[in-house]
């Protein structure tokens, strides 16, 4: 259960793509059609246009290299798919004082409880948000040989309400995905007619 920041990734790719495209197209356009002032760039040496013999080449190169390293590392690190982070919910009440619950503990208990149901083969649950506005991220794998409706209803009518009862608050948002798994034992009544 991993998430990526699609919009950010696409925006970065657009910027990089535009930079490369602009560099390539402007270079080609300048070589083939020249500049408006009539300079024949095509015959120019590239070295004349670059600060190769200048004193500031070294600090400039170092700065560009370091900035490039920092930027690309930042992009690479933020591009790694992540799991929704587990939280510690804090409850306060006048009568019972303060208590804290690790949401990962509840999530693990829900996974174990869900797997005891005959319709559910596997469950993967994460709880985010806050104690008053919890958020559910869950994936349930249902048996392929039971009706899909039954598994979906079981999750919506029993598993999630039970979880909300344990947390003491309804989920502010629920993100649930269903999948299926074949039973290990295949049907032996099949006939192959030739």
């Amino acid at each position: 259960m991993f998430t990526t920041h699609g919009v950010r990734q696409r925006t970065i790719l657009v910027i990089l793509g535009l930079l490369l495209l602009a560099a390539g197209v402007l270079g080609l356009a300048a070589v083939w059609w020249g500049f408006p002032d009539g300079t024949d760039l095509g015959r120019e040496q590239i070295g004349n246009s670059l600060p190769i013999d200048q004193q500031y080449l070294l600090p400039l190169g170092l700065a560009v290299g370091v900035i490039g390293m920092v930027l690309s590392l930042a992009v690479l690190i933020t591009a790694i798919p992540r799991r929704p982070s587990a939280h510690k919910f804090r409850y306060e009440s006048r009568n019972e004082g303060v208590s804290e619950i690790e949401t990962s503990v509840i999530a693990k208990a829900v996974e174990t409880a869900a797997q005891t149901q005959p319709e559910i083969v596997d469950a993967n649950v994460q709880i985010g948000g806050s104690a008053t506005e919890p958020v559910l991220y869950a994936r349930f794998t249902l048996r392929a040989d039971t009706p899909a409706n039954r598994g979906v209803d079981l999750v919506n009518e029993r598993v999630i309400p039970d979880l909300e009862m344990v947390l003491g608050a309804p989920f502010a948002s629920k993100h649930v995905s269903f999948s299926f798994q074949k039973p290990e034992k295949q049907d032996s009544e099949k006939v192959v007619l030739i």
Binding site: T4, H5, G6, Q9, R10, T11, I12, L13, V14, L16, G17, L18, L21, A22, A23, G24, G27, A30, V31, G42, R43, E44, Q45, I46, G47, L50, I52, L58, G61, L62, V64, G65, G68, L71, S72, L73, V75, A79, P81, P84, T141, A144, P147, A148, V152, N156, A172, S173, H175, S177, F178, S179, F180, Q181, K182, K190, V191, V192, L193, I194
Partner: protein, 183 residues
């Protein structure tokens, strides 16, 4: 409500490859500059590169090729960023964004479900299923002479499975049958 499951595919691989290349180039540039500062001369490879670039003319083949490669790479990155990726899930009837409830079924899960049903069909020896939000494509192998009957059986069973799913928009079903084995 921001969706978690029913999202278009990100462009993580393209981004990773691009920025690994940028990182490698930046490290080489910074390292060359540091070595120049420490030793007082450019490393041999860097010196060779500087010499080659300095003596190059804008209309030399190498320079033109580099510009074309840059433009093509830029266009590819731009297209990969702008073309929307395919979703890998189908929304269920119980999905209700206004109530903060996202409910989806994975296309891979539907493939498993359909594959299980198809493999149980008489005369089918092998089946492969690929599912997208719009289409379930089923390919089966059979040794039977009556390919048409096998196709109809498989089509009916798969349609039954899809109709039984509580999805908002059911994908279409396309079955193709290959005759393999038999007499």
């Amino acid at each position: 409500m921001n969706r978690f499951w029913h999202v278009r595919s990100a462009r993580t691989l393209a981004l990773m490859i691009s920025f690994v290349i940028v990182l490698a180039a930046s490290i080489l540039l910074a390292l060359s500059c540091i070595l120049r500062l420490v030793n007082g001369q450019w490393p041999a490879a860097a010196e060779q590169s500087i010499k080659t670039v300095s003596n190059l003319h804008f209309n030399d083949n190498l320079a033109v090729i580099v510009m074309v490669v840059l433009a093509v790479l830029g266009l590819l990155l731009l297209l990969s960023a702008l073309i929307p990726g395919r979703r890998q899930t189908i929304l269920l009837n119980s999905d209700d964004p206004s109530a903060g409830s996202e409910q989806a079924i994975s296309c891979r899960g539907i493939s498993t479900l359909v594959g299980y049903e198809v493999e149980r069909t008489d005369s089918v020896t092998r089946a492969s299923v690929t599912t997208s939000p719009k289409l379930v494509r089923v390919t089966v192998q059979t040794p039977a002479h009556s390919v048409q009957r096998v196709r109809e059986n498989v089509q009916a069973r798969v349609q039954g499975v899809i109709d039984g799913l509580p999805v908002q928009r059911a994908p279409k079903v396309k079955v193709s049958v290959q005759r393999r084995g038999g007499n």
